[in-house]
């Protein structure tokens, strides 16, 4: 069965390693924090100027001066720090953040990503995404494998305006874990109960399938 959004987040959480500084995008990526192992040390960076984000505040303890990049009220953990936007992007462009997890509307087989604009229709802006994808050495995309019409979002070439080129390293979708290599999507894992054929069907770009493809462990 295809993964829920929570399960996508849960699977991505396994990619978060001890000692990582992690930037989480809005949407599914935000949920990743809930599933990271408790026995490792991980710091979450928010590009609006917070390092060491903690959980949401208890009711009545919310502070309008303390939000994350999704404008949600948050708390901080001991060892946290606040800083201005220029310094925040020094962390990002300067490759001090170890892992970036973000959503996508489309990804192409060469690692291009589109997630900020649908011409003439939806124009929310790129926020920090262009800085993140241009700078991060380690980018994981959390996304649905297909759109509501059932069309693949893993393409030979993106149709929407790009956010960054040649930058995505890994995708965790509701159907599969995929690595980007050799200008192709390489299938690493299947969602529990999802067949290789279903994934092939849902992937427009070139899909590499080598040997037995294991089911994900959540």
């Amino acid at each position: 069965m295809a993964l829920t959004k929570e399960q996508i987040a849960q699977r991505i959480a396994k990619e978060v390693k001890d000692g990582y500084y992690v930037n989480l995008g809005i949407g599914i990526p935000t949920l990743v924090a809930n599933f990271v192992r408790e026995d490792i040390d991980v710091d979450f960076q928010s590009e609006n100027g917070v390092l060491g984000m903690g959980p949401f505040p208890f009711e009545g303890e919310e502070d309008p001066d303390l939000i994350n990049a999704g404008k949600q009220t948050i708390t901080t953990l001991p060892g946290a720090s606040f800083f201005d936007s220029a310094m925040s992007f020094s962390m990002i462009r300067g490759k001090h953040v170890d892992l970036t997890i973000l959503g996508a509307m489309e990804v192409s087989q060469n690692g291009d990503i589109a997630n900020w604009k649908i011409p003439g229709k939806m124009v929310k802006g790129m926020g920090g995404a262009m800085d993140l994808v241009a700078s991060a050495e380690n980018i994981i995309v959390a996304m649905m494998h297909t759109n509501r019409a059932g069309e693949s979002k893993l393409l030979k070439k993106c149709s929407l305006p790009l956010t960054g080129v040649n930058c995505v390293k890994k995708i965790v979708s509701n159907l599969a874990v995929i690595e980007l290599v050799d200008n192709s999507f390489k299938l690493l894992e299947r969602a529990p109960g999802v067949s290789v054929d279903e994934i092939r069907e849902a992937t427009e770009g070139n899909l590499i399938i080598e040997g037995e493809i294991p089911e994900m462990k959540l």
């Binding site: 928010s46 609006n48 009711e59 309008p64 939000i67 201005d84 790129m126 926020g127 241009a134």
Partner: protein, 233 residues
């Protein structure tokens, strides 16, 4: 010590005119210069260009200027929370330049610092790079971005003093420090205007040299956009 105190928001906004370019601090509704925005609405300055990460919500923050059609052009990174904004943009009434958030911060910082231009990897290969020079450094492509030019910067700090020194709180800091000194005139509104000498010189985020006018702000609403809480277990 050079005294930067003005009597209030009206004196602070003296010289504001139609067709000017403004920088406004804040991320979402956090750390926005509420008093200055209200005064810009009251003054009814028209055809202004606003450099601000976001555009407020429909009825608060820069949304108030949008409702009155005072804004000719917005330079922002993310405008997703404002339906009126999206309508004006898609209909062509509003000119919008969307740029990467880090580039926005750095173009402010560059203006503050007398750095006319710098290279960044953000946006290479995208619409953002159109018409801009690109160049390879260390095997990676970068684009040339230029310092902003603006007439007024409106920022909001937590504490300040008559010398113009500023201290910010939490994530309400965001773009505010980077915009100080990045425009011809920087106007700072503060929640608490302290006597000179109270702030620890080690702990000042923005030295007063970057600020031309400072005043004690009033009636902060500090609206929360996305109230997210957890239950006590």
């Amino acid at each position: 010590m050079i005294n930067k105190t003005v009597s209030g928001v009206q004196e602070a906004c003296q010289g504001v005119k139609d067709s000017m370019t403004f920088m406004l601090g804040g991320f979402g509704l956090s750390g926005i210069p509420e008093n200055s925005i209200a005064e810009l609405v009251r003054l009814n300055v028209m055809d202004v260009t606003c450099i601000s990460n976001n555009a407020g919500v429909d009825d608060f923050g820069l949304g108030q200027l949008l409702q009155k059609r005072q804004i000719k052009k917005m330079i922002s990174s993310y405008v997703g929370e404002n339906a009126e904004f999206e309508r004006q943009m898609l209909s062509g009434e509003l000119d919008v330049e969307l740029i990467p958030q880090g580039t926005l911060a750095q173009r402010c910082q560059a203006a503050q610092s007398g750095i006319p231009a710098f290279y960044t990897p953000a946006g290479y290969g995208t619409e953002v790079a159109e018409g801009k020079e690109s160049r390879e450094f260390h095997g990676k492509m970068h684009i040339l971005e230029k310092a902003f030019e603006a007439d007024f910067a409106f920022v909001k700090a937590w504490k300040g003093d008559a010398a113009g020194n500023l201290v910010f709180k939490g994530s309400a800091r965001n773009f505010n420090p980077n915009m100080c000194g990045a425009a011809k005139i920087t106007v700072a509104e503060v929640e608490e205007l302290l006597p000179v000498g109270v702030l620890d010189p080690n702990q000042i985020h923005i030295p007063g040299i970057f600020v031309q006018r400072i005043f004690q702000g009033k009636n902060y609403e500090k609206r929360i956009e996305q109230l997210t809480v957890r239950k006590r277990s």
